[in-house]
């Protein structure tokens, strides 16, 4: 059930932040949408893909983020309204194009949405993409509520089109993946036509031309700043001319309001909430700094507002404003459990900062209660680590890698990549992986590790990536390895989907973002084109898989193994019945067996559980998906597979 397509202005609906962004784009009359899957931004494109038919949109999952930004940029240059959505690290991937398309400009509204992930819930770093807006000198909007997520996205298109420059909307996990009430606006009736005439030029130029465009960009930003001074997305609440000021943006706004309320500081603290954060609306900020003696900055990840406002404050000294005492990340007042400038903020973070500054004690609960609660949690609550799903083929692949490396005996290095299989660093993947950075860095760094023999590092080198990651970022490094003679065994874990981000298709899936059939671009064909033979193997045929890997580890050069088995979560959706797997508890020897609870202790599939009353192994039939792998590994063959008629 989705209200994203409903044409009922003023209707109040419940939206996830990402749905609100998609709705904002539809209300702005977007025609062309692109992106690459990644939490917390994936649902933006997914929502638009569902609406594609009704609204006659082009929606594509592009092969990676720079291609996504380029295709959308072209549509916008041809006069359409175009949106590209990606997670924080996607901004790194598309940065090259961003740093030139800011100069070349746009005809139609062109909006880049980036989803930051404070606390790195599902990312390998806490990149703050607002810095890219400052670096590229493009307008930046930071929605604070689900309503603003919709309204600001719509406004970003209008602003981009009016100024002729790409605009950025920055969301964070707590907005993208939260739900809130949104009042719908109207949907446009106008249909646009794309055009690129023989007089049109679309380039950042170089030398004098590039400098000229750079100067034009600065002029565009001056105009953006003028508009931001008057924007309704910025607001002030609290005491008129207050001397204690909170300056905040994004999720910090609602957290600050609640913190001030819980501390009863409504009459003592003013809150300036900025929705337009680059370029900074300097006159607006200065009008509040004029009265301020103390300023606390409340924002996610980097001290972005903090630095920009402090620069402004330095200029204002000459006008008699200040001195002002600043609090925030630099002063270490706004800090999460990990420290300042890292980890998510929340109302408690703001309460703690305010209480420290105002030298107050604040306890959400009586001390005695808190002690009792943490004691109970400490005594009873076990850790709950992440693990691969029941029936995940990666579990079989990691087992095969572990075995092959054991047989080989040279302590080979496994360089990993970004996806579900990043969990191979953890015990759930038998901790076989030893390096992890960004998309494509597995095979990239393996190019280095695999060329160190003459410097004394004589070990087999394995690179691991998933299928979607293969297309996204691994092909140049694969060519490089062949060209520069690295010794690598590259294992592609091909489960026919982009699983980690919610099962989006990729170039090998045979369908596109809209679910329409497309030609499968096979990994083995690409390898063959580079002159590398790739073996294809089902990892669930475990003995064969180990044997194959071992053989490949004994040869030199660039080799590719494709472990191909569909993700059980997508497979289960298609399957009508699954085999029943259970433990024959007469055969299972329990703790007396020399296997030391192999199925639960070593194999660690959530479908394998322990029957604490009978002290024997058991299968959780609600969780087991019937992959049968544990049945092959049980030393006494106590795990039974029963085909269901």
């Amino acid at each position: 059930m989705s209200y994203v397509e409903v044409d009922e202005p003023r209707k109040r609906v419940l939206f996830m932040g990402n749905e609100a962004i998609a709705r904002g784009a539809l209300e702005a009359g977007v025609s062309f949408c692109s992106g690459y899957p990644g939490n917390p931004a994936s649902e933006i494109l997914e929502t638009l893909a569902k609406a594609a038919k009704k609204f006659n949109l082009h929606v594509e999952w592009s092969v990676n983020e720079i291609v996504a930004l380029e295709v959308a940029g072209a549509a916008a240059a041809a006069g359409l309204r175009a949106l590209t959505a990606m997670k924080n690290l996607g901004a790194d991937v598309c940065a090259d194009f961003l740093m030139t398309v800011n100069l070349s400009g746009t005809k139609g509204g062109f909006v880049l949405v980036t989803g930051d992930d404070p606390s790195a819930h599902s990312t390998t770093t806490e990149l703050d993409t607002r810095n890219y807006a400052r670096l590229a000198d493009i307008p930046l909007l930071e929605p604070a509520t689900t309503q603003e997520a919709k309204d600001m996205t719509r406004f970003a298109f209008e602003l981009s089109e009016e100024l002729g420059v790409i605009c950025m909307v920055r969301t964070v996990t707590r907005l993208s993946h939260s739900r809130g009430v949104v009042t719908l606006g109207s949907l446009p009736r106008e249909k646009r036509v794309a055009g690129f005439s023989s007089q049109d030029m679309w380039t950042s130029g170089s030398s004098a031309i590039a400098c000229m465009f750079h100067s034009v960009l600065h002029e565009k930003m001056r105009r953006a700043q003028e508009k931001f001074e008057e924007s309704n997305f910025n607001q002030y609440v609290g005491k008129e001319d207050g001397d204690f000021l909170i300056i905040t943006s994004g999720t910090g706004w609602l957290y600050s309001l609640e913190a001030v309320k819980l501390l009863g500081f409504q009459d003592r603290v003013g809150i300036l909430k900025l929705g337009t954060t680059w370029p900074l609306p300097e006159k607006l900020v200065a009008s509040h700094l004029k009265h301020a003696k103390d300023v606390l900055f409340v924002e996610e990840i980097d001290p972005f507002l903090e630095q920009n406002v402090k620069m402004l404050a330095a200029e204002l000294i000459a006008e008699g404003i200040g001195p002002i005492r600043f609090y925030g990340k630099k002063s270490n007042h706004l800090r999460s459990e990990f420290g300042a400038g890292t980890g998510e903020i929340d109302s408690d973070t703001v309460i703690k900062a305010l209480a420290e500054i105002k030298k107050l004690d604040y306890f959400p609960r009586e001390k005695e209660y808190s002690e009792k609660a943490s004691k109970a949690v400490g005594s009873y609550v076990p850790a709950r680590s992440m693990g691969l799903c029941a029936g995940c083929p990666h579990r079989a692949s990691f087992w095969a890698i572990k075995k092959a490396l054991q047989w080989d005996g040279r302590n080979g290095i496994v360089a990993a990549d970004i996806g579900c299989y990043s969990l191979g660093l953890l015990p759930t993947g038998f901790s076989v992986e030893k390096t992890l950075h960004c998309m494509g860095a597995g095979i990239g760094t393996a190019n280095g590790f695999g060329n160190l023999i003459r410097f004394g590092l004589d070990k087999p080198v394995i690179a691991v990536s998933g299928d979607s990651t293969f297309y996204h970022a691994c092909i140049p490094a694969l060519i490089n390895a062949k060209w520069n003679g690295a010794n690598i065994l590259y294992i592609v874990l091909d489960n026919n989907t982009t699983a980690m981000t919610g099962h989006q298709p990729h170039p090998g899936s045979g369908v596109n973002a809209l679910g329409n059939a497309s030609q499968k671009i096979l990994i083995e064909d690409i390898c063959k084109g580079i002159g590398i033979e790739a073996r294809v193997q089902d990892p669930f045929k475990l003995e064969e898989a180990v044997q194959n890997l071992y053989e490949m580890l004994q040869t030199e050069g660039m080799k590719v193994m494709i472990f191909r088995h569909e993700c059980p979560l997508t497979e289960a959706r298609k399957r009508e019945k699954r085999p029943r797997v259970y433990v024959d508890q007469d055969k299972c020897i329990g703790d007396e067996c020399g296997c030391v609870r192999f199925c639960t202790r070593v194999f660690r599939c959530p479908g394998n559980i322990w029957d604490y009353t009978k002290k024997k192994a058991k299968i959780d039939e609600a969780v087991c998906i019937g992959c049968e792998l544990c049945a092959d590994l049980c030393p006494v063959r106590a795990i039974v597979v029963e085909e269901v008629a």
Binding site: D348, R365, S370, R384, T600
Partner: protein, 207 residues
């Protein structure tokens, strides 16, 4: 409808795959139909892979609140799993918190592998009782099985929450939302699970 607590803070806690997000969606959608301001904060993404999943639901007649409930400020905790209920109470519970708990354990991989131990369920429930105003224990997985599928324990628990009177939500409105959400996907079984939850909640006494 005047809410006694504003905002009313509800937390649904459990593990990946238990249907937290669906349950919070039903509750939040009902509240929107009642004209309330609603915020739902959810943690998922990587936590889908067997980790802790928690939904914060905040209802208000006055204004939109942030998606995260401050520490110690939960009014109601709907626990799909016993130790996860205790973990959540440890951070967000207080003496006035009301808990509704499904006592069926979902063993963490750390327990199955022998690196951690899982406590006896009655001890966990006792620890919960010591920390909150009231705790209702509902065999939601068993009731869901009765309705046709153990996976519907989340809907049974929603039934319990609505029948508890801890929220301003009405049974009839929730039934309408369930019909709408599960249109074409076996609404009858889900309505039955919901019904069983409401009946059970009216039948049982707190611990």
């Amino acid at each position: 409808m005047k809410m006694k607590e504003d905002p009313l803070n509800i937390i649904i806690t459990g593990v990946g795959g238990q249907g937290n997000i669906q349950a919070s969606f039903i509750i939040a959608s009902t509240a929107v139909q009642n004209g309330l301001f609603v915020s739902v904060g959810e943690t998922y993404g990587a936590s889908q892979r067997g980790g802790v999943v928690m939904s914060h639901i905040r209802l208000s007649e006055e204004t939109q609140y942030g998606p995260l409930i401050p520490k110690g400020k939960a009014h109601v905790i709907l626990g799909f799993e016993p130790v996860e209920s205790l973990r959540t109470i440890g951070d967000f519970g207080n003496k006035e918190t009301k808990a509704i708990v499904n006592p069926r354990p979902v063993y963490p991989i750390d327990v199955l592998s022998g690196e951690a131990t899982y406590p006896a369920t009655n001890e966990v429930l006792k620890a919960i009782k010591d920390l909150v105003y009231s705790v209702h224990v509902v065999e939601a997985t068993e009731l869901a099985k009765e309705a046709g599928d153990t996976l519907m324990q989340n809907i049974v628990m929603v039934g319990c929450l609505v029948a508890s009177g801890f929220t301003p939500l009405k049974v009839e409105t929730v039934r309408g939302v369930i019909k709408e959400i599960f249109a074409g996907k076996n609404p009858e079984a889900n309505l039955k699970a919901f019904e069983l939850g409401t009946k059970e909640m009216r039948r049982i006494k707190p611990l």
